[in-house]
């Protein structure tokens, strides 16, 4: 394990020179706010435009930031990637105020500021709006004192950083111009008026009546990674960004919201009830699904100023937004306690810092974060272990204002998600180069599917976009009965194929040149990719020696570490790691499913070896036949890899899978990647991490070894409460991901989440986050299925639901007769009923073992928003789209059709429906649909003439077509890579693809949602 990167050690030593050799003052760097022309970012706290250039932001009068702007860095014009700043919305949540304002703020008035809040004297200092910072902010910038030479941080806004999607030329420096003000002000005066121009971000759901900032930026490129929650309640038409009476404005927002809520039966009388802790009689409510998406609960700390800096809920989410004080309260609430994390999510905005010493707690090694408490100007108290630490001198320095003295102005203190460029002590060896090795199955079965052509074509197209630098290495291995290597040495005329047939004892036919520098040998790589599909066109070889090929790949990659990508289309049947078919096709609908676990530990041991050498294995599984994913998946499960499954892939007969593979592959090849990474998750003393979920190897109690980290990987952890927490006010979780970027930089991404404590069971239940609970329960149920059985897991899921509702009933003063759920958990039965019918857990319905095992793996690794989509897809009726309530993004007007229940009664033969399952969006067209719709949207003359296969909408010049296309674009922009659109006619043979997702209905072997509720009611005493 000697080559594994260290996580920490000896940071506080001031004598260690900076990695880049820069000297004092400490270098801070913040590429996000750049506008590309070196425009100084202004930090004015006043409603005036900070500079004439920042026009789009100038209306930001009461911006939501209760804290001063972070050191905005200016913009090297080397910034290349056109992307855009989300103005810190990821971290800082303006909408909190929008939401909180109607409610009397109990917490603010309570006994002033509690002692452990992180607002020590320094904080009060700026909360009073003192002009010190302000005065210092402007002039140096305007005078050009802060030249790039003064801040060597500028160096880092070079391609390395810009590849992460930072701001681009032309984007206003929003972040910089947020002003801050005492948070209390917001409560008095309603919602903040101006909003910085920005994209629709999660907060938008509350911004209904405000001057919408969604109108603002016409130059918004698609943002990957916005989640469905962001769509909630956006329906207010765009108001002009003008000063309106705030109260009126706000009232109108309430009205609008209430009118929208009419579809939900919770909306009895007014606003309070919606936000209040209302309960819902599940049996009485027919349409329980919120039309505009499920709202994300927010974390409300008692220290109001900290509520602005929370980590994005998409990155870090806890099943409870208030942590129970003791374990017994948790047990009484019957809710699972855990955290879901999506650590390497693509962010539109991320502060990157380079400094000489990264400030960390001396005893528990926690990184300094916004939730620490400053004892005085020179000391801080760790919020995880409560040790009082000294601050290094350089931390006093604020690079924004060039001033000393107030540590709270540092970006580390203002952002709950931050990235450090790690100095040399975070490396055990020089950062590795990006190494990509592709293993291609060329057996007869694989050649039949025709995937090789698609793979080579896509790789050829994306060759330039593969993340990497001048050191990038690439290699190829093909295998069937034997293993073929390709010598791509620069000086060769054409690629040389070397065949090794001794698969029992594999060896490398030549010591080097199998992995070659991509830039130097690009010509040969291209030639090889052009030849490969032809070479194996007519192979009759039916064997697949995957094990031997993997061993050879390991020998090639292990000296450096890197990524092994395997394309496998058949069951590996010879050589080491050979597998046998285990599935009994007659038992596909049986109650208990055997063979969910690996048949051999070959792949697991292989993965552990890989993990030790910083190699990850990613699998693309394309087989139509059984290929024992349960065994194969171990290779990526324990090496931090990822998996894709394209059942029955065929390049002619299965076009939807071809589309899917192409989309996934493009994303896979070009997405960000982190090498030799480890993730450590710390939590406040008194809590401990119980179990991890995801693809990794657990190296110690809180350390995950992730040879590769990719932006689509999610993780879950169960947490247990060991000690009484009544002494502390807040609980913190901190995830630190140390990785080597594709540019060879060692970086640390730190996310911190802070949660308040609750002391009563009712409080805990009312703070629960239903989606996150479903996410965690799904992961726990997968574990249960693997260790015990699927029927056990199904029982456990039902029991959780029964227990939670019983626990809630126990907290109610009077026990009414219905089936009551708190409004924040009202969807829990719906989701859990859907989970029971998901591919992973369903019984009684014919399910291929491979599909099931793959679905289980996905439940373990999908980030929450995609997991929810896969369990309970969003369905929209689209035959009747209208602009009422639409939101606009730039010039695009995006209609917002309500989400409807996944039940057959909602689906009418005169309608058309969109079913969004995450990677596929089904467009279902009813038999009796109005011909005008077919003509105006689908471009056909009649229902009968609709094509069987259709993967994109025709671009027609009609309003209906444009609405639907805009809506689709909007949906596509919310995911990391575009989903496949598939048209399904009502009379089509593939209709079951659509109808199998209608999970609210009854099937032969499963209960309908309503029956499930009745079952719950009978179970609850």
């Amino acid at each position: 394990m000697a080559s594994q990167p260290p996580v920490q050690y000896n940071l506080m030593s001031p004598s260690i020179p900076n990695a880049t050799g820069t000297s004092q003052p400490p270098l801070l760097q913040r590429p996000i706010t750049s506008n590309g022309i070196g425009q100084p970012s202004a930090g004015s706290r006043f409603p005036v435009p900070a500079t004439s250039n920042s026009v789009p932001v100038s209306a930001t009068t009461n911006s939501q930031w209760a804290r001063p702007p972070v050191s905005s860095q200016f913009a090297p014009s080397t910034m290349s990637q056109p992307s855009f700043t989300a103005a810190g919305h990821q971290q800082c949540n303006p909408a909190i105020f929008g939401q909180d304002s109607p409610r009397p703020v109990l917490e603010t008035q309570s006994s002033g500021r509690p002692p452990s809040s992180s607002s020590g004297p320094p904080l009060n200092n700026y909360q009073s709006g003192q002009p010190i910072i302000n005065g210092n902010l402007g002039p140096p910038l305007a005078n050009g004192v802060r030249t790039p030479t003064a801040y060597s941080g500028v160096n880092y806004a070079t391609p390395a950083t810009s590849s992460m999607g930072y701001s681009s030329p032309g984007v206003p420096p929003q972040y910089a111009s947020q002003n801050f003000m005492p948070p209390q002000l917001h409560y008095g005066s309603g919602p903040p008026m101006g909003r910085p121009a920005g994209p629709p971000v999660p907060q938008q759901q509350y911004s209904t009546g405000y001057p919408s900032y969604s109108s603002a930026s016409g130059q918004l490129p698609p943002i990957s990674g916005i989640h469905t929650q962001q769509l909630s309640y956006p329906a207010a038409p765009v108001l002009p960004n003008a000063p309106v009476n705030q109260f009126q404005n706000f009232n109108s927002s309430i009205d609008k919201m209430a009118s929208q809520m009419n579809t939900m039966s919770v909306t009895q009388t007014g606003f309070d009830k919606i936000w209040g802790h209302e309960n819902v009689d599940l049996l009485q409510v027919r349409n329980i699904l919120p039309a505009q998406g499920v709202e994300t609960p927010r974390i409300r700390l008692r220290q109001e100023h900290l509520n602005n800096v929370h980590c994005s809920m998409d990155i870090f989410r806890c099943t409870l937004t208030k942590i129970p004080e003791t374990n017994s309260i948790l047990q009484k609430s019957r809710l699972p306690l855990g955290v879901l994390i999506h650590p390497f999510k693509d962010l539109t905005q991320l502060p990157v810092i380079q400094c000489q010493t990264i400030v960390r707690c001396r005893s528990c090694r926690t990184y300094i974060n916004p939730f620490v408490y400053f004892v005085d100007q020179r000391r801080w108290k760790c919020n995880l272990c409560f040790r009082v630490n000294d601050l290094p001198d350089e931390f006093q320095y604020d690079p924004m204002s060039n001033s000393y003295g107030d540590p709270t102005r540092r970006p580390e203190i203002k952002n709950a998600t931050i990235e450090f460029i790690a100095p040399a002590e975070y490396m055990l060896r020089p950062p590795q180069p990006p190494v990509y090795l592709y293993l291609l199955d060329v057996s007869h079965v694989a050649a039949e599917t025709g995937y090789l052509k698609l793979f080579c074509d896509v790789l050829l197209e994306e060759l330039e976009k593969i993340p990497g630098d001048s050191r990038t290495q690439i290699g190829f291995i093909t295998y069937a009965s034997s293993v073929q290597f390709y010598n791509l040495a620069e000086n060769l005329n054409q690629p040389h194929q070397l065949v090794v047939s001794d698969i029992e004892d594999i060896f490398l036919p030549c010591p080097n040149d199998l992995l070659v520098n991509l830039n130097e040998s690009k010509r040969l790589v291209i030639e090889l990719l052009e030849q490969l599909p032809l070479r194996f066109n007519n192979t009759a070889d039916c064997n697949s020696a995957l094990g031997a090929a993997l061993q050879a790949a390991y020998k090639m990659v292990s000296p450096t570490g890197g990524r092994i990508t395997v394309f496998q289309a058949s069951l590996p049947n010879i050589g080491p790691g050979a597998l046998k078919p285990r599935e009994d096709p007659n038992q596909r609908a049986a109650k208990d499913v055997p063979n969910l676990n690996a048949a051999t530990d070959f792949f697991k041991k292989f993965a552990l070896d890989c993990s030790g050498q910083q190699v990850a294995v990613d699998l693309f599984l394309l087989g139509g036949q059984y290929m024992d994913i349960a065994s194969l998946s171990c290779a990526s499960k324990f090496s931090g890899g990822c998996m894709y499954h394209f059942p029955s892939f065929h390049y002619v007969h299965n076009l939807p899978q071809v589309e899917r593979l192409e989309h996934s592959l493009r994303r896979y090849l070009t997405r960000k990647i982190g090498f030799e990474s480890v993730m450590r998750i710390r939590c406040t003393h008194g809590l401990s991490i119980h179990t991890f979920h995801g693809n990794f190897f657990v190296r110690s109690t809180d350390l995950l070894s992730l040879p590769n980290i990719n932006p689509d990987a999610g993780f879950g952890l169960q947490v247990s409460i060991d000690e009484n927490l009544s002494e502390v006010q807040n609980i913190c979780f901190q995830a630190a991901l140390l990785y080597t970027s594709s540019k060879g930089e060692r970086r640390i991404r730190v996310h911190t989440m802070c949660l308040p404590i609750a002391s009563t069971v009712a409080d805990v239940i009312q703070s629960a986050d239903q989606q996150c609970i479903v996410g965690l329960l799904a992961k726990m149920a997968v574990d249960r299925s693997l260790h015990s059985s699927i029927s056990d897991a199904r029982d456990a899921i039902v029991n959780v639901c029964v227990d939670v509702l019983s626990a809630y009933k126990a907290t109610m003063s009077s026990a009414p007769s219905g089936l009551y759920a708190p409004s924040n958990l009202r969807l829990l039965p719906l989701y859990l009923a859907a989970l029971l019918k998901s591919v992973a857990f369903r019984t009684g319905q014919s399910t291929r073992l491979d599909d099931r095992v793959f679905a289980m793996n996905q439940l373990k690794v999908l980030p929450l928003s995609q997991l929810i989509l896969s369990v309970y897809p969003d369905m929209y009726a689209i035959h009747n789209l209208h602009d009422q309530g639409a939101i606009s993004q730039g010039e695009m007007v995006i209609p917002q059709p309500p989400r409807i229940h996944l039940s057959a009664e909602m689906v009418d033969s005169t309608g058309a429906y969109l079913l969004d399952t995450g990677d596929v969006i089904y467009l279902y067209v009813g038999r009796n649909i109005h011909p005008a719709f077919i003509e105006n949207v689908l471009g056909s003359s009649s229902f009968q003439s609709l094509p069987e296969q259709m993967f994109e909408l025709p671009e027609l010049e009609t309003a209906e077509s444009e609405r639907l296309r805009n809506f689709l674009v909007h949906l596509q922009n919310q995911r990391p890579y575009p989903a496949v659109l598939q048209l399904i006619r009502e009379d089509s043979q593939i209709r079951h693809l659509f109808s199998s997702h209608l999970v609210d209905g009854r099937t032969e072997s499963s209960l309908s949602y309503y029956e499930f509720l009745q079952h719950l009611k009978n179970q609850i005493k």
Binding site: A598, T691, R699, S700, T701, L703
Partner: protein
């Protein structure tokens, strides 16, 4: 005073039981090291796994001697542990080598605490049986 087979088996059991005590102490220490992050789970499992079967065989070996010596009570005393060992080994994770511990799930808090508890209980059992074997040896030596 007679040196019977029973006395011999008690003497053997006494000596072998001392080994078992060392095994279980090693087991406890190993899991403690895992819990406090001193050791890598892969290394730790590869050092623990080779010891599992020897421990079981030693235990079964002197119980066989008790069987042949007709020490029914002592045998009854040990049978639950033998049954547990067999059950545990039949339900071990899929692995090619001998052993019980899988580095991929050993760090799970449940598994970890279960293994640690098992270590302590076994240590107590072996200590108790050590003194019982001592008593049994003396008794069988001075009887008759």
């Amino acid at each position: 005073m007679a040196f019977t087979f029973a006395a011999f088996s008690y003497i053997c059991a006494l000596v072998l039981d001392a080994f078992l005590i060392f095994f279980s102490i090693f087991h406890i220490i190993a899991f403690d090291e895992l819990k406090t992050d001193y050791k890598n789970p892969i290394d730790q499992c590869s050092s623990l796994n080779p010891l599992v079967l020897p421990e079981y065989f030693i235990h079964i070996f002197f119980n066989l001697m008790f069987l042949f010596a007709g020490e029914w009570f002592t045998l009854m005393f040990n049978i639950p542990l033998i049954a547990y060992h067999i059950h545990r080994y039949l339900n071990r994770p899929v692995m090619t080598g001998a052993g019980l511990y899988d580095p991929t799930n050993i760090m799970n808090q449940d598994v970890l605490s279960k293994c640690q508890r098992e270590g302590w209980i076994k240590l107590a059992f072996y200590l108790l049986s050590f003194f019982f074997y001592l008593y049994g040896m003396i008794r069988s030596l001075i009887s008759s």
